[in-house]
Each structure stands twice: as C-alpha cells, then as structure tokens.
Amino acid sequence: MKSVMLFCLLLASSGAHAREDVVVRAMHDEMRRSIQKLQLQKLDKPYFISYRIVDSESREISATLGSLLANSESRVRLLTVNIRVGDYSLDNSNFLSLGAGVSGLAAQMFAGIAGLPLDDDYNELRRQIWLATDGAYKKALEDIAGKRAALQNKNREDDIPDFSKVMPVSNTDLAPRAELDWQDATRLVRETSAVFRQTPSIQQSQVHFSADNRLERYLNSEGGTFTRLSPRVSLRVTASTQARDGMPLSDFVSAYGYSVRDLPSEADLLLQIHAMVLGLSNLQAAPVQDRYNGPVLFEGQAAAEVFARVFAEALPAQPTLISNNAQLEEALRQQSSNSLLNKLGSRVLPEFIDVLDDPTASHEKGNLVFGGYKVDEEGVPAKQTLVVRGGILKTVLTSRAPVRGVPESTGNFRERGVAASNLYVNADKTFTLGELQKRLVDSAVQRGNPFGIAIRRLSGKVATLAYRVYPDGHEELIRNAELTGMTVASFKDIVAVSDQRSVYTEATPQRNGFPSSVTAQIGAPPLESYVVPAILFDDVSLVKLPGNSAKPPFTSSPLLDK
C-alpha cells in the first residue's frame, strides 16, 4: 500500500517537469496509461516500464590518400522499451528462448527497439511508443511463461532477485554540443590522409572522422528520469602493409574529444602518423621472435591494452542467462565461469595495487578521460567503485541485475550491457621506468635468457611494437609476437609497476561468445578510459604468429609511378 502511494507521488512530480518537453510528455503519458491499464486478459501486469529515447545526429568523413571515401550525415531517433512482468524477485528478464530459431534470436536482440518520428509530434510519438510498448509487453509475457516453465523442474540455485531496487533520481547532464566547422573537419581528414601519398611502403591507409551529438531522454515507472547530451568526436588513422615474408602489419593512431578542439593539433597528428609509418617500415625488416618464456615489461599503450583485454574484461558481471534449451544454458554457464565473480574476496593482483572504477572523473593530469557519466543507462547515479583493494577483489561491476555476492547495482549499465567507465590502476609502491627496465633484464638473465622483452604497443594479443632489451641497454625490434596463455590469474604475479601512468581510451570491445545481454547494440559503443602504469610480469609466453600469410603484391605500388 505504502509503496503504491509513493510511486504515484513520484510520477505526479515528474509530470510537472515533463510538460516542457513534447518527447518527455509523450513518454510520460503513455507510460502512465500503460502502467494503469495494460494487461492481457488475466495475465501478469507490468510492474516496471522504462523508456529511453535517443536522438542521434552524426556526421562521418573518411578519406584515403587525400581523396574522400565517404562524407555523410544522419539523424535518427530511436526508442528502447524495457517492460518487466512478475516482480522484483522473479521477472521475465535474462531469459533466452531458443524455440524460434535464428529469426527468433534476431527478434529477441531487436525487441523493444523502435524508430520514432524526427518531428516533435505528440500524437505520433505516443502512437509509436504505444505500439512498441504493446509488442514488448507481449514478449515479456511469453518470456516469463517460458522462464517459469524452465525453472519449474529445477532447483533454483541462487535465491537472488532478478531486479534490485534503487531510489529513483532525476538527473540532467547537458554538455555543450560538439559544434563543427564541417569544412575544417573535411580538410583535416584530407590532409592527414594525403600524407601517405609519400609513403608507398604502406599498402592501404584510411583516415576516419566522426562526430556525434546524442540526446538521451529516459523515464521509468519508479520515477527515475534523466536527460543527457553527450557530444563526441573521434579520429582514427589506420595503415597496413606487409613484411617481406608476407606477414600482415598494421597500426593505428586514434584520438577522442568532446569537440574538435580536444583533438590533437594537425601538426601533432602528422608527427604521430610519421612515427607510425616509421614503426611499420622498421617492422617490415625486423626479425620474428621464436618462442619466449620469461619476464615481459608492458609499457604505455601495451600496458593499458593487456590490462583492458585480459583483466578488466572480466570485471563486468551479469547473471547467467536462463534458457529453455539445456545445451545452451550449459554453454552460457561455462562462459560466465570465466568472469571474476567467483573470485570475490580472493587475491587477484599484488598487494600494492588498487583498482578503481570512477565514472565521476573527467581528467587525469591534463588528459581527458572519456568513460564518465552522471547516471548510468538504468538511471542509477554514478559513483566510484573500489573494485580491488590491496590486491583483493572487493566487488565486480554490476547493473540492476544482481549477481551472487553483489546485490546492488554499482551503476555500470552502459549502452545495453555492464561495462567499466574509467578504470584507474593505483599503486602505493612504484618504480621509475628505467628501474623496471633494469629489473626486466636482470630477471631475464637470471633465467638464462640473453634478453628481456618490452612491449610498447599491443593489438589484442599481438605485440605490434616489441623489443628485445639487452643488458648493455641496446634494443632490437621484433615483429608481431603473439601473447599466449595470459589470463586473469596471470595478474596475480605482477612484479612491479611504474610511477608514471598513461591514459588510454577505446570503445568498449565487442565481447566474444554469446552477447552478455540479449539485445543488440545500436549506435557507437561507449568509451572506456584506462589509467595504467607500465607493468612488469615475471613470466609471460610469447610465440610466433601462427598461420601462412599471402605473399606481398607481385606488382609495384602506383604511388611509385610518377
């Protein structure tokens, strides 16, 4: 009784605020009608509804060798509906029905997403919201019936609710729009791509620029709301070629910002591109490293990449999907056993390291970090989460879908899945990079290796810039060695880290295997930033990149044909 009254009160107060914005008003009015009246015969009524409307205005420019490849803009408005039937302890969420086959799977992934009119027409917005709500409700009914049936003959192993409760908040986060001089951006893309006209050793190159202003409006039936404008600008330069034996070599330069002003200057970009080209041409002649087992020092971007890909990827936790297909459920269970959830309370890093997820941060020593936000996509206020303290895993990152041991949301539901925001690796015992390099070599020599290995750039598992470091201090470049056997457990044996840290940003990586949430990702993936020191590992395995590569081109580059 009490909760019903509180709920009505919250809706009423958000109503007054909503009247100013046609879109929000349409969301609000349709939600109120649906909560009050939407019910099919005597089946479950919805106990929770949320609407999220995203207006995305984006522009993309790309070029190669000074000539445009694409130059387009788009404007789209999308609605995402989430309806829950049942109650907080058991609802329709987290269920995958395999009965319908591939098309059913596609239907599941895109369920609850609808295109909306670009015009702020109250009646038409409400019509589309109505139809999307109706479809999502019917699917919710089917899902809860399937889920109840699937659980009927099993003992439910976890007595954890499907949906945690939060205090609803209202939030507004309107960063200034990324205004662009379209001419400027086009000129920048052309000129940076034109640099490669002078580098015939590079087979293919591209510069890609995109700018996106996203306006999100969110409303749920508990009274939580937020309006957020997130501008984003990104630039990426890619170059690829082959070594003399055909091994593919590629590298990239990327930059992000909230406006064009945040991007590096053209002069700075040209320098970075020049360094990349020099690096690639050195790699063409560099030797291949046969198997290596020994200490490895990850510096700069490589440290951030190995931390992001191997360790940080295991931090987001979502409950295992329940399915009406036993084989699938088993496969999903196997996959989720790779996450760090089972290590709560266990030591996962050396004692001198803490890891902090901080969505409230916006800068780190003069560099921007891009993973921040004020509320997550479920309307949960952002907060710092100390994930690892003194090497011990204190918590994983969660959404409002609780997992064993973490009943509350840490506020990390981003763009349809749990993800980190800005991750900081903080150490209370550090060394200079020079000291680490010395330790690397000393420890290698102790093991009988003539050299240690320092990796400065890493792409997935491939070390695109790695060096043999000798006791006399000289270094030899090696080509595309591949990391093998590195797991979350490897991070327990970190020997030491540096005092200086680098800031590295990338789009949330595509998670391998089954989608962690059964819904498609629409639009650009969110960004995560990592603030990571150089890391010395005691024992890492590197192997030669497997596979046969195509021979280099039989014909000479036309760039030489002048």
């Binding site: 009015d29 349709e30 009608r33 649906s34 939407l38 019910q39 099919l40 070029a63 190669t64 060798l65 000074g66 000539s67 445009l68 490849l69 694409a70 130059n71 387009s72 803009e73 788009s74 404007r75 789209v76 295109g115 909306l116 009119p117 670009l118 015009d119 027409d121 009646n123 038409e124 409400r126 019509r127 589309q128 109505w130 139809l131 109706d134 479809g135 409700y137 019917k138 000129e191 034109a194 640099v195 006209r197 002078q198 087979q203 293919q204 002069a267 040209l270 320098l271 020049h274 360094a275 195509a550 021979k551 081109p553 039989f554 014909t555 000479s556 580059s557 036309p558 760039l559 044909d561």
Partner: protein
C-alpha cells in the same frame, strides 16, 4: 622534439601541399585512372608464370537521397554518396578459367560479393592505389581457384554442357555525361508528411510510411579488351505502404510504388493522395473480407499480376547461367524450338526501351555490367521458345552474350532480366476476358473463379533439390461468382509449377500494365520491369497465406482512448 622529427614533419607537410597543388592542375577522369592502373598492373602480371588473360574494372557511384515519413511526420532524411569496385580477373583461357562453377560444392556466396569502397573524388593516385591492391588480391585468389577448377573437372563426371567459361565480345567505347540529382530535400520532407497524414486518424493502421528516393547511378567500365565506358542514370521512386490487421490477426498490407527517370515523372500530389485514399478504403475492406480456403479453378490475373507472374515463372528460368549449372532445374533448357506458351503470346526482353505505354521502364540500360552493348532479345516468339538471356558466360549453343550480364554494385554479374514484355496478338477487351472466365467457371462446375488484382511481388525457386515452385503474393483478390458478382477476399497466396500453369493460359486482353521493381538474385538487386496484359488461366492453385500469430494491440490507440 628531435631535429630529425622536425625535418621529417616539414618534409611531409610540404610534400602534402605539393601533391595537392599538382592535383588541381590536372584533373584526370575516373576512366583515365582506371585505364592507367589496368595497364600498369597487367604489364607487370604478364611476367608471372600464369599471367591473367583478362582483366576488367567496374566502378559504380551511387549518390542517393532518401526521405521517409510516417503518419504525417518525418522519420528520415539523408543523403549518401559512395563508390564501389568490382574486379574481374581471369587466368587460364576462354575455354576454362578460374570462374568456372565447381560441381559438388556449394559456392560461397561471399565470393560473389565484395565490399570495396572507392574514393568518391576523381583523384588518380587514390583511385589507382585501391585498384592496384585489389587486383593483386584477386590475382592470387584466381590462381588458387584455377588449380581447384582444373582438379575438380578431372575428378568429376564429364559435364553435360561443354561450352566455354567466357565469351569473346567486341570492346565498346562510350562516354555519356553524368546526370545530376535534382532533389529539393525540404520539398520532399513536406511531401512525405503530406502523403502519410491521411492515415493519422486511424488507430487500427499499424504502419503508414512513404519513402521518396533518388539515386544517381554512374558506372565506369574498363577492360583489357579495350573497353572504356561511362554511363549515368538517375532513378526516382515513391513508395507508400500501410498495413492493418484483421480480427484473426492476419496482417493486411497495401502498397503503391512509382518509378521514373526524372523527378517530373513522379505523380503529382493530387494523384498520390487519391491513391492513398484508395489504400485506406481497401485496407478497411480487407479487414472485413472473408478468408478463402485452398482452391483450384479458373482465374484472371490483372496486367500487373501477370507481369510479376511472368517475371517469376518465366524470366528467372531463362537466365543463361541456370542452364549450365548442374544444380539448377533447367526447366526450359531442352525446349528451344518448342511451343511453351499459346501461339498468341510472345515474350521479349528489351533493355533499350526506356518507356512503354507512357511509363518509364527501370530495367533499361545501354551497356551491361560486363561492358556489352544492350539489345532486344526475343525469348518466345508466337509461343515458341527461341532464346535465353546471356551474359559473357556461354552455354551450349549460345556462345556469346546478348547484353544481359547485370549486377548490383560490388557483385559478380550473371544473366539477369531487363524489361520483360509480354506481347499479345489476339487481344480482347477486359469485359470479354471476364465473360470467358464466367464461361470457364460454369464449364468446370465451380461456384466461383478468382480475380487477382494488386500484387506485392513474388519469389521463385529454381534449384534441383527443392520443388520448382513459384509464389506470387497477391494483395487484392476477388471471388468472381458465376453471375459476375465480385467479392473481395483475403488470405491467399498464388502458387503452382511453371510448366503446368503455362499450358493453361486461355486468353489475354488488350492491357499493357507495367510493374517496376527490384529483382534480387545471385548478383544482388537490379532494377527490372515487366509489362503484360491481363490473362485468363483455366486452372490456378491458391494456398493459405502465412498468418501472423500476433494479436492486435491490447490498448486502443492513445488518441482513441478517452
């Protein structure tokens, strides 16, 4: 910054500036750039052990504007320009080359399609660099494929068809000016709102969209034969679609579409609004119409229904490559010189015809996607099968192309339809056709016959492992009683097998109805048209349409809920 880096930076910037000013002095065309690279690559590849015997490049630019509206509001307004490349490189010789389809193996659909973006500006170095890189890649794949083809032909049974893999054709040179798009986007945005506004007041219509699109299609083709062709065409299209639902859940669609080569060829607002009103009336009638059970009996197919019918039943079965493939049904292959239709019907394919009965025909073109000049092909003359549609892939008895090698940009061309025309030498009026229908109903002792008026489109299956059926999807179907009364019905699909239905055509009227559409098959979507009179068939078979299991929305439309 190191001196070395500064110098490098200056050198790079100056070089970039210099190359840009060079570009402004000379403006090489796309054809010139493609020709240069073709010569450059071929000259060098000639020195290889297995040199190519043929090389061609097709570059297609698609500049499109798409504006969509729904229920009186704007949902999309975008413009896009892209260029795509298709490389045809052959090793071996005309008799046996790397493109031969291998028997006993399902061909990989990805081999037929390549997504190679090309610069959208006419810069020689940028264009040549992509062509060079892709030519080398294609060459390596061609060598691999040739080895497999040679082995496959030795291991498998002797082929039925021993024609060559590639025909010899006269190289063409032709350049026509590019035709610019003439679209006022704001005017179009108003139109899509206006065309869909009449649907607004209906809460039982679940979709009502209008899309205006303009496409400029410019193609460049060069070959080692000496071909050099530039063609340019614009297409304008208006498409209006809406659907409702019957009380039993069946979805009831209704479409209208218009194609033309110029914006002036699209219907004016008054015409469109009249069509929209008819759609609204039809949809309401369809909701109340009775369902028809599976039925066999006489029927009239309107001109448009017949046009689609011939496209599916006949057109796809005389595409040349199907006569050679051992997995295809090859329905008509051995019937050249035999009557397959009544003697008053002829079927002609004419890509050189741009208009018929005052309507633009979108299947027209001057040169096909293999650089062969388009020409009229008489497939059936007075009922007798004469010819197949041919690309440069010969079949027994047909060693040359007749200009029907077509593809969507990026796909490998195969023989496709152009503008199909069903010509009738014994034309009677529609009234007389209906009289004949009534006579046939009585003769067969049926209580009614059918009239197929509007159709959605169709599909056909020509493989050997599945029943060789076709399916034309009717939208407006009427029961015709023996007293002449017509009653709208719903829930029918028209099915049958080609040879039986052809033998049952009794008469045709004096209509010439044009159906313009996009036909999708192995080489992607290509614009085609089909023109035909209404026909009377003595025996047609219908089956029940797949019915949606989704109920109508639970709540009434918001504006109807008081």
């Amino acid at each position: 910054m190191e001196l070395r880096q500064v110098v490098a930076l200056i050198v790079l910037s100056v070089a970039a500036l210099v190359s840009r000013s060079q570009n402004q002095d000379q403006t090489p065309s796309v054809l010139d750039a493609a020709k240069s690279e073709l010569i450059h690559s071929l000259d060098q590849l000639k020195k290889q052990e297995v040199p190519p015997y043929f090389l061609s490049y097709e570059i297609v630019e698609t500049h499109s504007v798409i504006v969509s509206g729904s229920f009186g509001t704007l949902t999309n307004s975008s413009e896009n320009k892209r260029r795509q490349l298709h490389v045809d490189l052959r090793v071996g010789d005309y008799a046996m080359d790397n493109t031969r389809q291998m028997r006993g193996r399902t061909s990989n659909p990805l081999d037929r399609f390549s997504n190679i973006p090309m610069p959208i500006e006419d810069d020689s170095a940028a264009i040549r660099n992509v062509l060079w890189y892709q030519t080398d890649k294609k060459y390596k794949k061609a060598l691999e494929d040739l080895t497999t083809v040679r082995t496959n032909s030795q291991v498998k049974v002797q082929q039925e068809d021993n024609s060559a893999d590639f025909s010899t054709e006269t190289a063409q040179q032709f350049v026509e000016a590019t035709v610019p798009l003439a679209v006022n986007r704001q005017v179009w945005e108003e139109k899509v709102r206006r065309y869909t506004a009449p649907f607004q007041r209906f809460g039982n219509l679940y979709q009502a969209v209008a899309t205006l699109s303009a496409n400029q299609d410019t193609r460049w083709f060069v070959s080692s034969d000496g071909a050099a062709i530039q063609t340019s065409q614009t297409f304008y299209r208006l498409y209006v679609a809406a659907y409702s639902k019957a009380d039993d859940g069946m979805e009831l669609p209704r479409f209208e579409s218009y194609f033309s080569f110029t914006p002036a060829g699209l219907p004016d607002d008054a015409t469109v609004l009249r069509a929209v009103n008819k759609m609204i009336v039809d949809l309401e009638s369809l909701r109340k119409a009775p369902v028809v059970d599976p039925f066999t009996g006489p029927a009239i197919l309107s001109g448009r229904a017949t046009a689609v019918f011939f496209h599916e039943v006949f057109g796809h079965r005389i595409e040349g490559h199907r006569q050679k493939s051992e997995t295809e049904g090859q329905t008509f292959r051995k019937m050249v010189g035999e009557p397959i239709l009544p003697d008053f019907l002829s079927v002609v394919f004419d890509p050189t015809l741009r208009q018929y009965a005052g309507v633009d025909l979108v299947g027209s073109y001057d040169y096909d996607d293999e650089g062969v000049k388009a020409r009229r092909v008489t497939a059936v003359d007075d009922g007798v099968l004469k010819n197949f549609l041919m690309s440069r892939s010969p079949i027994d008895g047909y060693p040359t192309s007749n200009g029907h090698g077509r593809a969507q940009p990026g796909f490998t061309p195969v023989a496709r339809q152009s503008n199909l025309l069903v010509l009738n030498t014994k034309a009677i009026s529609r009234g007389q056709l209906k009289t004949l229908l009534l006579q046939e109903i009585k003769k067969q002792g049926k209580s009614f016959g059918l009239l197929f008026d509007e159709i959605e489109g169709g599909f056909t299956l020509t493989g050997r492992t599945i029943p060789n059926a076709f399916n034309v999807l009717p939208v407006m179907v009427y029961r015709v009683y023996s007293n002449g009364r017509e009653e709208l019905v719903r829930g029918v699909d028209l099915i049958g097998t080609p040879l039986t239905v052809f033998s049952k055509i009794l008469a045709a009227d004096d209509e010439a109805a044009v159906f313009n559409g996009i036909c999708g098959a192995e080489s992607g979507g290509v614009p085609v048209s089909s023109t035909a009179p209404a026909i009377l068939v003595s025996q047609i078979e219908v089956q029940k349409k797949l019915k949606s299991q989704e109920r109508a929305p639970i709540l009434p439309a918001p504006f109807e809920d008081k």
